[in-house]
Symmetry: C2
Subunit: 337 residues, 2 copies
DNA sequence: TTGTAGGCGTTATCAA
DNA sequence: TTGATAACGCCTACAA
């Protein structure tokens, strides 16, 4: 911490003006004459005064800051959502505290505690893949603490979720593969405990049903969809009978699977077609370019933040709503036979 | 903010134990009997108590948190550095507040203020491209506030910097292109106001000199090295006489330039070879794969954080030092003729 | 081992 | 328009 922390009392003494007036002046209160204000402000600058936000927040019981918890900031989707969040928050004069759970339940719980004990005015969160119990949210919600879930919804009553239509777009993605002539479509799923992945898997299944293709459970492969998982999944599908397409619940797994397959002489899309999910920048540049699903990321951040502000303002209102945004299938080379 | 905030006084009243004892118990002080501790802790849980960190930080003048300012969290290099920072900080029981300047000087200044007025114990920063004046750091440094610069150094006296050997690796990268037979090597530079880019440019020049290749200023193109810049730069080099290679100060610009050139019938590396900088994941996957420079990102985060902790502990010591890490040239297809 | 009392820096209320 | 005073929630000498 600083050696020499100047407080309003130091300014007060230096000028012979009461500290309450100094405080008012520094907050630009209309109840201080312009002359005194000028004197105080210039003295404050001269002395290198800097407000202690901790004290101010403690006193006012308002922090003007919100917390954001995402699984990983390096994912393009999340950093774009964060961009939207920061823009909206900034306009409203709020600070944003960015945290990553790294998909760990324990870290997520700890971050909730830290943010909440630092009295952020609300939290925007996309829950970790490990999270199957929602008790740690329930407690905060009971206390009336504004939490808003985005992308990965929370199925607790009273939760506000902002998500995309995972079911519908997964249906479309799978349908697209079927229309390309694929009949044996494998699916890379994330943890089924997350509604997000459940919805994507259900969309996939619904498309198969519509076209009279049997659903085979061994074609549905669950993992954490990390880079490493993609390689294991690729090996796995080579052991399955005549897989001719993959619909993956994210790009990361699809990309590393494709790389492994390419290195092993499989042609994409001729032998196996691919559709990913998230539209990571890499998907447009790789060879072949990856058909994927583009989510309204920036927009989601903006909307989530303004919904959160609604909740912060009227503690009571707008609970238990779900806002659904429309994603878009971006067709590239990896899926066109 | 919460409706019903339980404080240590509420617990104190509920149990008929003084609040100071409650405070000690909740901090697991050895000066409270186990029996009382148990009683207090279980009551605290029952009542849904949660410590108010603001009050605690204000009182103790210690926040156990550090701030990190990076240009963009979405850059792979920075998110890896942050991973290293978080790991080290976590082990030391510190919280990390992540912020992005978005390469804006104004935002950077504001973030410094916000973090500092929230009394973080220290700041790790990689300065924005717009930053040419260092006055806003000087003031904090004078006050003895621990700041540590990583990747993009601050050339103020008394600054602690942790960087890579940009000059040396840029020399090597350029030499590599020369050894591939390239003679007309253009260079994408960032703002020359940043030492980082100056060093890279100097390394490039030194290699040309060593091999008796004339330095032509019109071959050195300065920009912010964003995706959009890459396209403009690509157009530009097409107007220059017989450019046969590009050494770019980051991957983003190199990648979009390559894409533009490919779309316009230029073959890479046959017509124009490329070397980038940063080893973004995309560089390994794209076609052709991009030769680039891999920085010790995670390690840099770890080292920077422990150096910062040193400064936090002994306010006086270890100023004005520069720690240099060694990067590595990763040779891929974009540079091998 | 526990209680008392005061203060961290700010702001809100009341009075002047 | 300004000043005096108390309080936000916590922690820490010091006393008991």
């Amino acid at each position: 911490m600083r050696n020499n922390n100047i407080t309003i009392h130091d300014i007060s003494k230096a000028l012979g003006i009461d500290s309450s007036t100094v405080s008012r002046a520094l907050n630009n209160s209309p109840r201080v004459s312009q002359k005194t204000k000028d004197k105080i402000v210039s003295k404050a600058n001269e002395m290198g005064y800097q407000r202690n936000s901790l004290a101010s927040k403690l006193r006012t019981n308002k922090t003007h800051s919100i917390g954001v918890i995402v699984p990983r900031i390096s994912r393009h989707f999340f950093s774009s959502v964060i961009a939207g969040i920061e823009e909206t928050a900034f306009d409203a004069g709020y600070d944003v505290i960015i945290c990553q759970s790294l998909e760990s339940f324990e870290r997520e719980k700890k971050l909730m505690e830290t943010l909440s004990s630092n009295r952020v005015d609300g939290i925007l969160i996309s829950i970790s893949m490990e999270t199957t119990s929602y008790e740690h949210f329930k407690e905060y919600q009971k206390q009336g603490f504004p939490i808003l879930f985005f992308d990965r919804p929370c199925n607790l009553a009273d939760s506000t979720n902002i998500i995309i239509d995972d079911y519908k777009i997964s249906f479309e993605a799978t349908e697209h593969l079927i229309q390309q002539g694929c009949k044996n479509i494998a699916h890379f799923s994330g943890p089924a405990a997350l509604d997000l992945y459940k919805n994507r898997t259900n969309g996939y299944k619904a498309a198969l049903i519509k076209y009279g293709i049997p659903i085979r459970d061994e074609y549905i492969l669950e993992s954490h969809l990390m880079k490493e998982d993609g390689i294991a999944l690729a090996k796995k599908i080579l052991t399955l009978p005549k897989v001719d397409a993959v619909f993956s619940s994210n790009d990361a797994a699809a990309i590393s699977a494709m790389q492994y397959l390419k290195e092993n002489g499989i042609r994409i899309p001729q032998d196996i077609a691919f559709v990913g999910f998230s539209n990571e920048p890499i998907s447009a540049v790789m060879e072949p370019s990856l058909t994927t699903i583009k989510q309204p990321d920036f927009e989601m951040g903006k909307i989530a933040t303004s919904l959160l502000f609604d909740q912060i303002k009227n503690k009571s209102g707008h609970k238990n709503q779900t806002k659904i945004l429309e994603p878009e299938l971006v067709i590239r080379n990896s899926s066109q036979k």
